[in-house]
């Protein structure tokens, strides 16, 4: 059913939490609401509409617009309903002649300083000021328009996504409050007093200000003062659909707002549990890539990568690929082909790819991009707690007292959760940051970390062990919890291990680079500051000891009893929208869906029965194994869906050689990405707007992705995989992704209660969702660990081989930035590049001076495996000895420099530590020159396909 466009419901003030029920009467209607609820919200809940302009249920009541006045029996005057809490027995009148006159009087004042251009205004028909003028029956502005006004105020069009038109501003402060309360950036303020009060960015313009373009202000604006440029250009939407963001692992719920098949706006969905109405610059605005001219919408094939592409039919492309794959298998054996699935795709699509490999290819050579990000999380949490997933819901942080952030940068990489975290910190929660870099949380408006431990890259395990040492030796641990909930033997041997002197902060100081006293203080705070929650990211996993660090984190949580309830836990910040889901769906070579090992005959038997095939019990190749095997000639065919390994995997030159060695590379993507330039078959992919399915976010929340426009290529990705399988003789017969989910549910105990019907009803579900948790599981390990007793793994610190020395004296570490997303394939094709048009190398001024490097200089970054050239940014965010860059632009070649080192347990690459030398240079690196040449050639070959067609 089509949902016609209307603004999302707004109850005026936030819900009151958990007070006793208060009964009152509004316009004669009886209603009960929790104590602390405003009269305005109570009225809305009673179905009574009170006019309002400055109120919104995402913001604290403010009381400035004075149109929501009501009469309350026994009270003098006309209290504002937004700032008046309900009281038992209150009798409220919202419509009386006196109120009508007052409201008209206030509206008359508003409109006396507002342009009368409603008919040509971008938000005509979607404007609260306009609606309110109508509601109160304003008929004339007796003041005239010759008086003082702001009608000539100049627009600020510096932000690429929205326009600030102060002539239309009614100074309700909703934007300012949204920036403070919702986003926590404090970029906006009111400048001037009285009639001169104006919204100001405290800089020359929006783009030059602290604004992070999250859009909260635009959402909050009741007029056309802050309006999306897409709305200005295209008009207000006519219908809407609820879907889920395809950027990071926060998994924000969005309302796609459309005109026909054109998305004109993405609005954060207020009922989205992960984001509760908030968004970031990516999800909110950077959706234009979906219709970018670079989209490839016709299948293409070629015999070699030296040849131009040939546009062909779907059937021909799939037959071409299937034939080659079968030939390779005939010549080189069953195991000579494999597939890589994508954390960007839906659960259903990921499930199908692994099914294709196991049932169609007849091997287990399936891996997924989680290999290079959170595979240590899966391993580490499974080993210690029993489940490969984070333990909490995002809302859990609202009751955390101590928050420890290690190797994560939420305000850049998980911005919507970052805002929630900052809100809690502003409420008074304490903060420990463990990061080589001074991330924003260390010192942000109204936030300051209690402890920032600037760990040397590669020494996380040492820091975590030292913290555990302090807690254990100072007897700050939760003995009761451990005795009741954890494995006694493993704890005893771990306790002996961790209490040993070599794990003391002082003994490890040289390795960690962290002041032992600060470390001790941080450990004490974590252990004794109330509810303590750990949030970690790729700065933990992407190390040679990534899995060890994850286990050390779990140890800390168990040691202090900080697990199994709200406000605590171990929380991996998943990088991509569906990392959790792709792992859940059996994308690893050794595991079937639901993290069940292939070697388990019973599980295998279930799948064999359902799929009507014999499954190979031997685990297949991981991604790095595939590349090594390709260079050895044993692996020759790869189906790569939605992952750009040529840009994102470490040691680029190694990857390029491996890809070049393949006989048949089938790439399925929405763009001709770096990997596709090595491909023989190109299968056009579909963006998240073009298909149905589900994503699972970092809190195990399964949310619906809904098709809001037809696939540009005619097929959604699940349909392509299904057709490819058919071409290989592996029949699949799904008419809709809901049927794929039904199959997943029937074969996976943690998903057995999941269905599209239940998802539609509940909005989203956190797995496990089954008979014992029919509505899902917000907090895991409540009464016992999934594995039974929590397991303390010994986490010996072993320094990485990748050490700084005289030749490579600096340690390079990498990270993400707010406006760009991973390899940048999407965000680089949007106006987000206004904020970040190139990757630069952050270097401490001291290291820069030693090398004669000034701000903006080109610098060569040389590691043991390669070198690249970037511009230098001098900053004290990094400490001396550490350099840092982002990796959003292919030409940056960040991964030309990173090495083949990887996590001992999972092969997750050690992206976060590379010993390098940095020096001033005057030209791009040899690799960059080659890359540009190769890029030009491949674009040309693509162009020829298009002109030939």
């Amino acid at each position: 059913m089509v949902q016609y466009y209307e603004p999302q419901r707004d109850y005026g003030t936030p819900a009151a939490s958990g007070g006793e029920a208060v009964a009152l009467q509004i316009d004669g209607i009886d209603i009960e609401v929790p104590a602390g609820t405003s009269v305005m919200r109570a009225a809305a809940l009673a179905g009574v509409k009170v006019p309002k302009l400055c109120a919104s249920d995402s913001l604290e009541a403010f009381g400035s617009c004075r149109v929501c006045l009501v009469e309350i029996a026994g009270r003098r005057g006309y209290p504002a309903s937004c700032t008046t809490p309900v009281e038992p027995g209150m009798q409220v009148q919202t419509q009386t002649p006196a109120l009508a006159k007052l409201r008209r009087g206030v509206m008359e004042l508003y409109i006396s300083d507002h342009p009368l251009d409603c008919l040509t205004c971008p938000t005509n028909g979607d404007c609260e000021l306009q609606d309110t003028a109508g509601e109160v029956g304003l008929r004339a502005v007796r003041y005239g328009f010759a008086g003082a006004n702001h009608l000539e105020a100049e627009k600020d069009q510096s932000n690429p996504y929205f326009t600030f038109d102060p002539a239309k501003c009614i100074v309700c402060s909703r934007c300012v409050r949204a920036c403070e309360e919702v986003q926590g950036t404090f970029a906006l303020t009111i400048e001037g007093r009285g009639f001169d009060s104006r919204v100001s960015v405290g800089a020359t313009d929006f783009l030059g200000s602290d604004c992070v373009s999250c859009g909260a202000c635009v959402n909050a604006c009741p007029t056309a003062t802050l309006t999306e440029n897409s709305i200005i250009e295209q008009g207000i939407p006519e219908h809407t659909a609820i879907t889920t963001c395809a950027y990071c692992g926060v998994g924000c719920g969005f309302r796609a707002e459309l005109r026909g098949n054109t998305v004109v706006r993405m609005t954060p969905w207020k009922d989205g549990r992960a984001n509760e109405g908030h968004a970031c610059v990516k999800g909110r605005f950077a959706f234009g890539y979906a219709t970018h001219p670079d989209r490839i919408t016709t299948p293409m094939v070629r015999d070699s990568i030296e040849q131009p592409w040939r546009e062909v039919s779907w059937d021909e492309a799939l037959q071409f690929a299937a034939r080659r794959f079968r030939e390779i298998q005939e010549r080189h054996g069953r195991n000579s082909i494999g597939a890589i699935s994508s954390s960007r795709c839906t659960n259903e699509e990921v499930y199908l790819v692994q099914k294709l490999v196991r049932a169609g290819f007849g091997n287990n050579n399936i891996d997924t991009c989680a290999r290079v990000c959170h595979s240590p999380t899966g391993f580490g949490l499974k080993t210690t707690l029993g489940e490969s997933a984070g333990t909490q819901a995002f809302t859990s942080v609202d009751s955390a007292d101590v928050i420890m952030v290690i190797g994560a940068n939420p305000t850049e990489a998980h911005p919507v959760f970052g805002s929630r975290l900052k809100r809690r910190l502003r409420e008074g929660a304490r903060l420990i940051v463990i990061d080589p870099r001074e991330i924003e949380l260390v010192d942000a408006p109204h936030i300051r970390a209690d402890y920032h431990l600037p760990v040397n890259p590669g020494a996380n395990v040492a820091v975590l062990n030292a913290m555990a040492h302090v807690i254990a030796t100072e007897a700050l641990h939760d003995a009761g919890f451990i005795a009741q909930r954890c494995d006694r033997e493993s704890f005893a041997s771990w306790l002996e291990f961790v209490s040993a002197e070599h794990n003391a902060p002082e003994a490890l100081a040289a390795a960690t680079g962290v002041d032992p006293e600060s470390l001790r203080a941080a450990a004490r705070l974590y252990a004794s500051g109330g509810n303590a929650a750990i949030y970690y990211g790729l700065g933990v996993t992407e190390h040679s000891q990534g899995s060890t660090a994850v286990m050390a984190i779990a140890n800390l949580a168990m040691l202090t009893g900080n697990i199994g309830r709200e406000g605590v836990g171990v929380n991996p910040m998943r990088g991509q929208n569906n990392v959790q889901g792709s792992c859940d769906m059996g994308s690893f070579p050794h595991e079937l869906p639901g993290y069940r090992h292939l070697s388990d005959a019973a599980t295998r038997g279930q799948f064999e029965a359902a799929w009507q095939v014999q499954l190979d019990p031997e685990p297949g190749m991981r991604i790095p194994n595939m590349f090594d095997a390709a260079l050895d000639g044993q692996f020759r065919g790869l189906y790569c869906q939605g992952e750009d390994v040529a840009q994102s995997d470490p040691n680029t030159q190694h990857i390029e050689a491996a890809l070049s060695a393949l006989e048949c590379l089938v790439v399925q993507d929405i763009f001709l990405n770096e990997t596709a330039k090595f491909a023989h078959v190109f299968l056009p992919g579909a963006s998240f707007l073009e298909k149905d399915g589900t994503f699972t976010n970092a809190e195990r929340r399964i949310s619906r992705v809904r098709k809001v426009m037809p696939p540009l290529s005619g097929k959604a990705d699940w349909e392509v995989t299904q057709a490819f399988a058919a071409a290989l003789g592996c029949d699949m017969d799904y008419a809709h992704p809901s049927q794929i989910m039904d199959e997943i549910a029937s074969l996976t105990p943690t998903f057995s209660g999941v269905s599209y019907a239940l998802l539609d009803e509940k909005g989203s579900l956190q797995w496990p969702c089954n008979e014992s948790a029919p509505e899902g599981t917000p907090t895991m390990h409540r009464d016992e660990f999934v594995r039974g007793k929590g397991y303390f793994a010994i986490t010996d610190f072993v320094a990485t081989d990748e050490r700084a020395n005289r030749r490579f004296p600096l340690l390079l570490t990498t990270g993400r930035i707010l406006s760009q997303y991973n390899v940048g394939a999407q965000t680089r094709r949007t106006d987000n590049s206004a904020w970040h048009s190139e990757d630069t190398l952050e270097i401490h001024p001291h290291d820069a001076q030693e090398r004669g490097v000034s701000e903006g200089d080109w610098v060569g970054i040389q590691s043991r495996v390669g070198n690249t050239v970037l511009r230098a940014t001098l900053t004290t965010r990094v400490k001396p000895g550490v350099v840092y860059t982002t990796f959003h632009h292919p030409v940056s070649g960040a991964n030309v420099v990173t090495t083949d080192n990887s996590d001992w347990a999972t092969n997750c690459p050690e992206y976060k530590v590379t010993a390098v030398q940095v020096s001033r240079v005057s030209a791009p690196s040899a690799w960059q020159a080659r890359q540009q040449q190769f890029d030009r050639k491949q674009r040309d070959l693509l162009e020829r396909a298009r002109t030939d067609a």
Partner: protein, 508 residues
């Protein structure tokens, strides 16, 4: 025998030449032995400033107003000749202008060097606090409640009720905030008290702290009062050194720390919630109530916000007992009222009288007619947001309820007199212009309404569509009165409407 000379150091006295008088005195008395010059506070008779008092043999007489040139002649007089001087005032307690007053809060004002702690103690200073620290918090609050003391800033809220609320609020930290942002035109009582008797305010605040369980207090002082800042600043340091402030006040084991903070020139920061925002380091913008500051005030904690005079009154209430204070006054207005006579009057200054006498009595007794010598026409009582009263209302008793019934308000006790040359339409316009200049800008009736008010009054003054614009102005006043967020916008119509109602001829 030693002679003591008193020349006020008060800002008003200095503004009219007290420093020059003191300097002339200093050079004059250098020749005399045993002479001491005391820079006392002002007694508040500004029309007599610069005032010089001479104390000899336990007898203290005054001369004023003086200029520096008068000093040598006075110094040349023998004591028995003083009365021959044409500026001789005699003992000031006996001067009719003072004798007709009942000084309670301003009992000590002008008698001593305001910073001399010994003098303060000698005049029963800190007796209230010494008494209070031996009482339970609830008993102190009861005492204040029984005194009938109401907020002297203008809102007249019962102080005991406010304190009780803060006392009963559960919180780890509570605050006492003194509103010393005295912004009403024609008012100066807070300043006079701080410059003349600073320890009394300190004592009152410490009592408040002990009473409600607040160990921290702030005085929010307007930046336009540099002399008051200097006096308070020094007084706080001396009180702390003497153990009346700090970690252990009066050896009671209770702490009260006091800080002095300066405003930045915004009238609206005299509004208590805007004051709290400003004190927190934010723009001074009015907060919606509820929550009341008593529940969530400074930094979100339970906070007593009281005016200077309210807190100062507490010191004498605790020293002399609630009954003594409650014994003064009329109706629900107990104790004394501090009026500040200003504008077009001959005898401007501070007058402290019990509530209940009429405005006319006060004017007749103290004002001495207009300075211009012309008949009085209108009197604005209660600051720039107070009503303009015509002569027909001057018999209204000075008590909160009686004044409200007459359409006026006592406010902070400002009395500004206008003679018959006043243009009441211009005064009405000024009220709107003042609101436009001082509005914080948060709520629409005040932010936009005041500007439109000026425009409409301009049209009325220009005799453009008078009837239509008067009707529009009436509607606007309704909107501002009933819909404004705080008293700034809500009371601005008072002077406007009273001017139109009582002086319609100026709008025709």
């Amino acid at each position: 025998m030693s002679t003591r000379y008193f020349v006020p150091r008060d800002a008003t006295a200095r503004a009219v030449g007290a420093d020059a008088v003191a300097a002339a005195l200093a050079s004059g008395v250098a020749e005399h032995n045993h002479a001491e010059i005391v820079r006392n506070g002002s007694r508040g008779a500004f029309w007599l400033e610069p005032l010089l008092e001479i104390e000899q043999d336990g007898k203290r007489v005054g001369f004023g107003p003086l200029c520096a040139d008068d000093v040598p002649a006075i110094l040349a007089l023998e004591a028995h000749e003083y009365a021959t001087h044409d500026r001789y005032l005699g003992p000031l307690e006996q001067h009719p202008w003072f004798a007709a007053q009942q000084r309670v809060t301003f009992m000590r004002a002008g008698l001593d060097d305001p910073l001399c702690l010994e003098s303060y103690l000698a005049r029963h200073g800190f007796e209230g606090l010494e008494h209070a620290v031996h009482l339970s918090p609830g008993d102190i609050v009861d005492e204040v409640t029984r005194s009938g003391l109401r907020g002297r800033g203008g809102a007249a809220f019962p102080t005991g009720v406010k304190w009780r609320t803060v006392l009963e609020a559960e919180a780890g930290q509570k605050y006492i905030v003194c509103n010393a942002d005295e912004g009403d035109s024609g008012t100066f009582a807070d300043r006079l008290l701080m410059e003349s008797d600073p320890y009394q305010l300190i004592e009152g605040m410490a009592i408040a702290g002990v009473a409600v369980g607040a160990d921290r207090g702030y005085i929010y002082l307007r930046s336009e009062y540099p002399d008051a800042w200097q006096v308070m600043h020094t007084a706080i340091a001396k009180a702390e050194a003497a153990g009346y402030l700090g970690q252990d006040i009066c050896d009671s084991g209770r702490a009260f720390h006091l800080e002095l903070r300066l405003g930045a020139g915004a009238y609206i920061c005299g509004e208590e919630t805007a004051l709290l925002d400003s004190l927190e380091g934010k723009r001074g913008v009015v907060r919606a109530k509820p929550p009341l500051p008593a529940h969530q005030g400074l930094f979100g904690q339970p906070t007593v916000v009281n005016n200077v005079l309210t807190l100062a009154a507490v010191a004498s209430i605790m020293a002399d007992g609630a009954e003594a204070y409650a014994g003064l006054g009329s109706g629900r207005s107990r104790g004394t009222l501090t009026l500040q006579l200003a504008g077009n009057v001959r005898h401007g200054g501070l007058v402290e009288v019990p509530y209940g006498c009429t405005l006319r009595e006060v004017l007749d007794t103290f004002a001495g007619g207009t300075r211009s010598g012309r008949p009085m026409r209108a009197i604005q009582v209660g600051g720039p947001l107070g009503a303009y009263l015509p002569e027909s209302l001057w018999d209204t008793p000075l008590d909160y309820e009686a004044f409200a019934a007459a359409g006026g308000m006592l406010g902070h006790g400002g009395v500004v007199v206008f003679d018959d040359t006043v243009d009441m339409a211009a005064q009405a316009r000024f009220a709107m212009a003042f609101c436009a200049a001082e509005s914080c800008g948060k709520c629409t009736p005040c932010r936009v309404g005041s500007v439109r008010g000026v425009e409409v009054l301009d049209r009325i003054i220009a005799r453009e569509e008078g009837a239509r614009n008067l009707a529009l102005l009436e509607d606007l006043c309704d909107t501002m009165t009933s819909a404004s967020l705080c008293a700034m916008g809500g009371l601005t119509p008072n002077p406007v409407r009273s001017a139109i109602a009582h002086f319609p001829e100026d709008f025709q």
